[in-house]
């Protein structure tokens, strides 16, 4: 596996050579610093810890500052571990968008936009109950029956109901890398990516 941490910039659309328009997301990915290399001997598994994004020195405690000092880098705002990294990297080295190639298929992980407390129609795609006329009212977005009566005398666990929606970690698979601007650290992937503009996303393969 290989991956990089990035920041979602926004969406636009690009015209291909055939004149077709493709929606794509611009992600500012990397450069990420390798802050720790985990090995089978010392940790029981292999992984690479990457750090991304700058933050002020005074916002990190002593433990954090010393951890970053080992990699010879100033304090970073976001740290993430990638298991079984396929590219050999040592502590203190940087990972840039160059690890991906144009045309490659990647997965993008992000946190979806929070939607707040939502009903079942929006949250679970229910169609609501009842019609607009024939004497019915106040039932158009209702969930309907949630189970039996005297048997089982309870509501089954996992019953889909209204509640908090969004803010979930979501992985979008199989997005195509359309273009890479290595000097600006921009990577363009096809389609949409979870989260609002400016949110942290992981691009991995």
């Amino acid at each position: 596996m290989k991956g990089i941490i990035g920041k979602k910039i926004g969406m636009t659309s690009i015209f291909g050579a055939d004149g077709k328009q493709t929606a794509c997301t611009i992600i500012e990915a990397g450069p990420c610093v390798v802050t720790q290399v985990k090995t089978e001997d010392s940790d029981g598994y292999t992984a690479l810890q990457l750090a991304f994004g700058d933050k002020k020195e005074k916002h990190s405690n002593k433990a954090e500052t010393n951890h970053f000092a080992k990699a010879n880098t100033p304090a970073k705002s976001f740290v993430k571990e990638f298991r079984d990294y396929s590219i050999d990297k040592n502590i203190g080295e940087t990972v840039t968008v160059d690890i991906f190639a144009e045309g490659e298929s990647v997965d993008v992980v992000g946190t979806t936009k929070g939607k707040g407390f939502q009903g079942v129609v929006k949250r679970h795609g229910f169609s609501g109950v009842g019609e607009q006329s024939h004497g019915q009212h106040d039932r158009q977005r209702a969930p309907g029956s949630i189970g039996g009566s005297s048997y089982p005398s309870r509501v089954f666990k996992g019953m889909r109901m209204a509640g908090r929606m969004g803010g979930d970690r979501v992985k979008v698979k199989g997005l195509k890398v359309i273009k890479i601007f290595a000097d600006k650290n921009y990577i363009l992937v096809s389609g949409s990516v979870p989260g609002h503009n400016g949110s942290i996303v992981l691009i991995q393969k």
Partner: protein, 116 residues
């Protein structure tokens, strides 16, 4: 437009020079079509019903009456398939979106020309 989005389009989208036009103007859009593996240019002449969107995804809609049937086509401003645009007439209209043309026909669907 976001600076990053602007940068991306400076790199990837070809610059286009068109005459300035707005809703109510009569224009001819010459656009490329691929027919049987060969590319040729077809033109679409009509009134601009609206221009919509900003930056790289902006589009405009052209309406014409073809054999008595109203036809509208949407063109992206930056599409590489739009070869050229000719401004035929500048219209005198009082709004930016001319949706009212859809319900009209004949003389009342006509747009007055602005003499400059």
């Amino acid at each position: 437009m976001n600076a990053a989005v602007q940068f991306v389009h400076e790199q990837l989208t070809a610059k286009k020079e068109y005459p300035r036009f707005k809703a109510g103007d009569n224009i001819t859009v010459n656009y490329k079509i691929v027919e049987g593996g060969k590319e040729r240019i077809q033109s679409f002449r009509g009134d601009v019903v609206k221009t919509q969107g900003t930056g790289a995804t902006a589009t405009f809609t052209v309406r014409k009456i073809s054999d008595g049937v109203g036809v509208e086509r949407i063109f992206p401003f930056l599409s590489p398939n739009v070869d050229s645009i000719v401004l035929n007439k500048v219209g005198k209209v009082r709004r930016a979106k001319l949706y009212y043309l859809r319900t009209r026909s004949g003389k009342s669907a006509r747009i007055k020309e602005k003499r400059v």
